[in-house]
């Protein structure tokens, strides 16, 4: 069998990698579960949990973070060979801060009510360790397209965790989903809401439980 392979002419040029090859799919799929930025790498919990009392601000926050991660990854990856190592942190912070300012201004222009509530937390995306972490660990050493995929993966990994936390907090704390009163709609009047879920404590508890469930499923144990 092997001779047949040898008879074929040797390829002169290496075939360019498929747009969504297995290796590249892993950039997106890994951070969703096995290498999740929040539950496994313990990054970026800061600015996220504060907005998770309701689903709609959480969704805005998740979209903003995905946007900032993807584009900062792209920009840093494009200029990675031009940036001297000594000043890279400042350059990264400047790129992130610019993108966050952009998001902040867009929110202010088109979603003014949400912006009034979220402005401080949108600003805190700058100090979200996931963004910095991906720039340091990935975008500084990889090609732009790969970096965009990596950014998408980390962004979505982050998004699903905070959306899950927000789902439970809003369901148990306010008995609604996206402001829609689900329990009244299915005929349960006076659903006993839990005040603890609206307070920050609920977020810690739910995140702790999500981590527990996820790590039990994947078998990851922290030493």
């Amino acid at each position: 069998m092997s001779t047949e392979v040898a008879d074929k002419p040797v390829k002169e040029k290496e075939k360019s990698e498929a747009l969504l090859s297995k290796r590249r799919r892993r950039f997106v799929s890994d951070p969703l579960n096995d290498d999740n930025p929040i539950t496994v790498q313990v990054l970026g919990i800061c600015s996220a949990l504060a907005v998770t009392t309701q689903l709609s601000p959480t969704l805005i926050m998740a979209v903003s973070v995905v946007f900032v991660i993807v584009f900062s990854n792209l920009i840093i990856s494009l200029i990675r060979n031009l940036v001297p190592g000594r000043v890279r942190i400042i350059v990264q912070l400047a790129v992130i801060a610019t993108l966050v300012t952009l998001v902040d201004q867009v929110l202010k222009a088109y979603f003014y009510d949400a912006w009034k509530v979220l402005s401080v937390f949108v600003g805190l995306i700058i100090t979200n360790c996931i963004v910095m972490g991906r720039l340091e660990a990935f975008a500084m050493g990889n090609k732009p397209y790969d970096s965009v995929l990596d950014g998408l993966g980390s962004g979505f990994g982050y998004a699903w965790v905070i959306l899950a936390v927000a789902f439970f907090r809003e369901l148990l704390g306010s008995a609604s989903i996206f402001g829609f009163k689900v329990f009244e709609a299915i005929g349960i009047e006076n659903f006993p809401t839990n005040g603890l879920m609206v307070s920050p404590v609920g977020a810690f508890m739910i995140l702790g439980i999500i981590i527990w469930v996820q790590r039990s499923l994947t078998g990851y144990v922290e030493r």
Binding site: L124, T127, V221, R223
Partner: protein
């Protein structure tokens, strides 16, 4: 009296970590030993006490709408507030650099233990968060200084308490999936419940 109340509020009631989740990254990462937790906490107190008033001055004299009036009447309508994030993060990064140099000079031992986490104070959400809250709540300079110090002290209190619990936790039998981050989250939640009892305290 108002200032004292503001300080109490910043330390206990609206604790940066337990009520706003800010500074969680370093809070979770550096809370394995009490000694390092105290070191990092003190550095955060220092940086916060200095940067919040500096950012207040920056906000009032440069960034706020009409803040540039002192430079001449033609600047009276300029609104630079969209530059807030970049300016604040620049001040914070500079101050952290300064603290890093001072600690390296004064206490090389502490510098060694804190290592990578010192520069990471620059991306500690609690610090940028305090400055942004200061703007949102329209504090005066005195209030800004007290608020900065109070938030820092609140962070110090929370991280030292957690480190003390985690030192004990080494000897306890925690389910595998809950080890590390999971149990730390639940403990933080319990600490949050304890701190809820401070709500409403004022002098």
């Amino acid at each position: 009296m108002d200032l004292i109340n503001l300080g109490i509020k910043a330390i206990f009631i609206e604790n940066m970590v337990l009520a706003y989740f800010l500074g969680m990254c370093s809070y979770l990462a550096v809370s394995k030993k009490v000694s390092t937790a105290v070191g990092l906490g003190s550095a955060v107190v220092f940086v916060l006490t200095i940067t919040v008033p500096i950012n207040w001055v920056l906000q009032e004299l440069v960034l706020k709408e009409g803040a540039l009036t002192w430079a001449g009447d033609q600047f009276a309508t300029i609104d630079l507030s969209f530059l807030r994030f970049i300016m604040f993060i620049a001040v914070i990064a500079a101050m952290v650099q300064l603290v890093e140099m001072v600690i390296e000079k004064v206490s090389p031992a502490l510098y060694g233990t804190l290592g990578i986490f010192l520069p990471l104070i620059a991306v500690n959400c609690a610090i940028l968060g305090s400055s942004l809250f200061m703007v949102q709540r329209d504090y005066t300079i005195g209030e800004a200084a007290v608020f900065g110090f109070g938030s820092g002290t609140g962070f110090l209190l929370a991280i030292v308490a957690l480190a003390a619990i985690r030192e004990r936790l080494k000897y306890s039998n925690v389910p595998d999936g809950l080890k590390g981050l999971g149990i730390t989250m639940l403990i933080t939640g319990l600490m949050g419940i304890a701190f809820l009892s401070f709500v409403g305290i004022s002098i």
